[in-house]
């Protein structure tokens, strides 16, 4: 409470002095940004450092004297990394498309068809969103095994929608809710079927929502770890996060250069995608939480 006694400055932020703005805003924010971004800087600098510099304690570790692409070269030509990348892209794209199709239909049915019990189904979807993969992976592993999908890409393509569909449905329900009913009624009077309405009216109007859901679903699949670790054992079917963690860590001597290069390359696609769609991404994240 002592703060309230000491702080007798009045007025809004634009009345603050420049010096107090530095102390209360810019410096703390600078520290936050530094701490949040430093691991990425460290990833980049490590991935271009030759081993000799990596393993010496002399000199300035924050900089690199002779940058090298050896680690990337090793990664791309001497490991299965390109295959992992391809697997991750393949699995993420298909899982995202499957989930989006399911989610669009489900969200439209819950929000607009208002069938009997749609409220309960909506609640069920929300609850499904709250079930964490860490309590599902063991029984799922036995199911995947029984279905003969163990160690295939389909094991992941079919299980990822379990966390993607609830998320996307929830997000799209919010978007569909904002579209006026009148548009649909007009189309119904003109004789359009529900499918036509969904395809020609609802979907074009909810493109931002679809982009948010798609980007988010893609990122979630790209980053998924526990299912990919459990259901996949052959190197050529692994995804990037699992491949880097399980195959690039060999013995007691860690090849930090190539490990960081692998981490960097695996992070770049989502980071680039994110940079193009920041606004969609943020609205997707906050939208799903807000409802």
């Amino acid at each position: 409470m002592s703060t309230s006694l000491e702080d007798d400055s009045q007025g809004m932020s634009y009345l603050d002095t420049v010096r107090s703005r530095w102390v209360t805003v810019y410096i703390p924010l600078g520290i936050f940004v530094f701490v949040l971004l430093f691991p990425f800087y460290w990833m980049v600098i490590t991935s271009v450092k030759p081993n000799k510099e990596l393993l010496s304690r002399d000199g300035n570790p924050f900089w690199v004297i002779q940058p090298t692409l050896d680690h990337f070269h090793k990664l791309l030509f001497k490991t299965a990394y390109p295959e992992w990348l391809w697997n991750t892209v393949f699995i993420s794209v298909i899982a995202t498309v499957v989930s989006l199709v399911c989610a669009v239909l489900a969200a439209y049915a819950i929000e607009r068809l208002r069938f009997k019990g749609s409220r309960q189904v909506g609640l069920g979807i929300f609850l499904a969103y709250l079930v964490p993969p860490s309590i599902l992976f063991i029984p799922l592993a036995t199911i995947v095994f029984k279905l003969g999908l163990f160690d295939t890409r389909w094991a992941l393509i079919l299980t990822y929608p379990t966390f993607l569909i609830p998320f996307c449905t929830w997000l799209l329900m919010g978007y569909f809710r904002s579209i006026p009913f009148e548009l649909e009624e007009c189309a119904l009077i003109d004789g359009a079927t529900r499918f036509e309405i969904l395809w020609k009216i609802i979907l074009p109007l909810s493109v931002p929502g679809l982009i948010s859901a798609g980007i988010f679903a893609f990122t979630l699949s790209w980053n998924e770890f526990i299912y990919a670790l459990t259901f996949i054992s052959s190197s050529e079917v692994k995804t990037v996060p699992v491949g880097v963690v399980t195959e690039l860590v060999e013995g007691d001597v860690y090849h930090w250069g190539s490990l960081m290069a692998g981490a960097l390359l695996g992070s770049l696609p989502v980071a680039v995608l994110y940079s193009f769609f920041v606004e969609h991404y943020v609205s997707g994240m906050t939208g799903a939480v807000k409802e």
């Binding site: 490590t46 068809l113 309590i135 770890f225 860690y254 960081m260 943020v282 994240m285 906050t286 939480v289």
Partner: protein, 300 residues
Amino acid sequence: MLQKLQNSRNGLGLVFMAPATILLVLFLTYPLGLGVWLGFTDTKIGRGGEFIGLENYEFLWEDSVTRLALFNTLFYTFIASVLKFFLGLWLAVLLNEKMPYKTFFRSVILLPYIVPTALSALAFWWLYDAQFSIISWILIKMGWIDHYIDFLGDPWNARFSVLAANVWRGVPFVAITLLAGLQTISPSLYEAAAIDGATAWQRFKHITLPLLTPMIAVVMTFSVLFTFTDFQLIYVITRGGPLNATHLMATLSFQRAISGGALGEGAAIAIAMVPFLLAAILFSYFGLQRRAWQQGGSDK
């Protein structure tokens, strides 16, 4: 006519719901039930199990490693959530200030949240390296310590190291979602309070916090939920070591079930997390209730 439309609504609803329902029932509801069942059996990898009642749970209750994992999980979740909340709220308030390059800051802040956790965890593993840690290097150069810190070799050091990595990853999510909540608060409220002579702290306490409470309840529920069931960070950085000091329920269930082959026992550990998760969800539910009456609506 109306009757027919109603019929087709239910029929169409069924058709539209079918793809999502089939996938979710087959790969979410069914495994959830199967997990509960597995917890009551002695199933091993490659061998079907028999019903053994509560034996798994009785064994786990006596098992010192499981007890340690439960303690670690509660400790990890509690400390990490508290830190994420305060740091996240602080960061959200900072980002809500008027300043140049605001959108840029807001975008880069979220990077730890969007890159694959397993991969950023590798970076932390490297930052915590016993021989080449840059953190130790800086502290030595500054003269604060005289030898390299054994971040991951000592139980408490390891606990706080993974905790820091978890907070690092979680703060952006809390901050950006709370920021979205902050932006919905009308500036005129602050102006009115300022005219009435309220200090910055009073404005925060009596305007920002109450209006943000519903959002905080939801965000923190998600945060608690995902911290409690965290797996990747621990698996990558310490694999539960040293001496099981960083094992969480999720990593322990993976070790017992997948690495050790005792599916039944692992499933029992995973199912033991459910009561805690339910508590978190109920917490969120009551948070949302509060939102209804705060906005002048009635409680459902």
